[in-house]
Symmetry: C2
Subunit: 198 residues, 2 copies
Amino acid sequence: MSPRPDVRDERVNQILDAAELVFAQKGFNQARMEDIAEEAGLSKGTLYLYIKDKDDLIVSILDRIFTGVFELMSTRDLAEKSATDALLDFASKMSHGYQKLSRLLPIAYEFFSLAFRNPVVQKVLKTYLQHYLESVLPVIQRGVDSGEFKEVDPQEVAIAFAAIFEGTTLLWAYNQELIHLDQHILAGVNLLLEGIWA
Amino acid sequence: MSPRPDVRDERVNQILDAAELVFAQKGFNQARMEDIAEEAGLSKGTLYLYIKDKDDLIVSILDRIFTGVFELMSTRDLAEKSATDALLDFASKMSHGYQKLSRLLPIAYEFFSLAFRNPVVQKVLKTYLQHYLESVLPVIQRGVDSGEFKEVDPQEVAIAFAAIFEGTTLLWAYNQELIHLDQHILAGVNLLLEGIWA
DNA sequence: TATAAATAACTGACCAGTCAGTTATTTATA
DNA sequence: TATAAATAACTGACTGGTCAGTTATTTATA
């Protein structure tokens, strides 16, 4: 018999949305809980009804992001295509996904930095690479088995693809005039593909 | 005649060394000036005889790093070699250089994050890419002109190479068991080269 | 009216930067 | 050569402001 309707889920998302925005604008340390509260249209005290503390926001935001990206990385729908087409589709999906998440890039790099001293964050990032490899390795292996690709080391190729995704994104992050995410990821992927075609 | 020898340069470097170490360990915001003073073997008050404030340390450290890396990126000594060998030598030089600087990686990603809100940092990073392109573009162009490479867009290729450097380093940063910087940068570069050979 | 939801006011730990005072080294001169 | 004067180098206690997290109180509704 609640005297008020349960608004927990709504409030939590409201707070995480606000925290993402404020963290991206000011960085984790400069962001004040007061700022997040204001952005969420709540008072500071109310935040603490729904989150444990400021650190808790990091983990929650990471969770939300990676849940989304993991869905993005699925290659189940690419099983019918040639390995080349599957990789191209995957790359295009990734670069669109990254572009959509670009508002979170400042947060992402802060997390990368944080990973050096925070085991939880490091674990999350390792899991990310793991997921990626699980998605992409079978596709490359299929290309090798079918004779579509040379006898390359699939892991090396998968890592090179990942490096193109991550590296191009990083260059784009502070050079959006010179780098065009879509175009340059596609160019990089195509160069790699040229290198592995049988 | 000064009553004491001038120790300014020595002290400044001493402080920057300490700041690099402490920033890498704790991150910029968690690092206390007291910590840096202790690490430098000086008192907190003395720091302020040689630096303006905490923010000033960021710019000074960035300056020191990039001065070193810009030297590394010179391709003057590679003019005699084939474009392929020049790029391979360049890649090897870069991966060794990055490995040597790996203690600064946490700082690097904090700077990337900072670049989104700090114009000075953003400028420095842009200059970095500029320098890189000025070093690498002529080598690729030479390869195209000599018929060693296909008729590729040199800028796209240069950016793909840079993405391999930066991306592999990023993956390696939180995955040193799975990724081997030397090996995977070399593998990536070789795949790209395979893709552009005439 | 019982209680979930929200709030505004509050507290205390923290720390960048300051500055009055101290120490160490060199120079001048009796 | 002793020692006084000059000053560069250094110190650490202190201050003022900030802000994460708490609490006492009010508001809204089932």
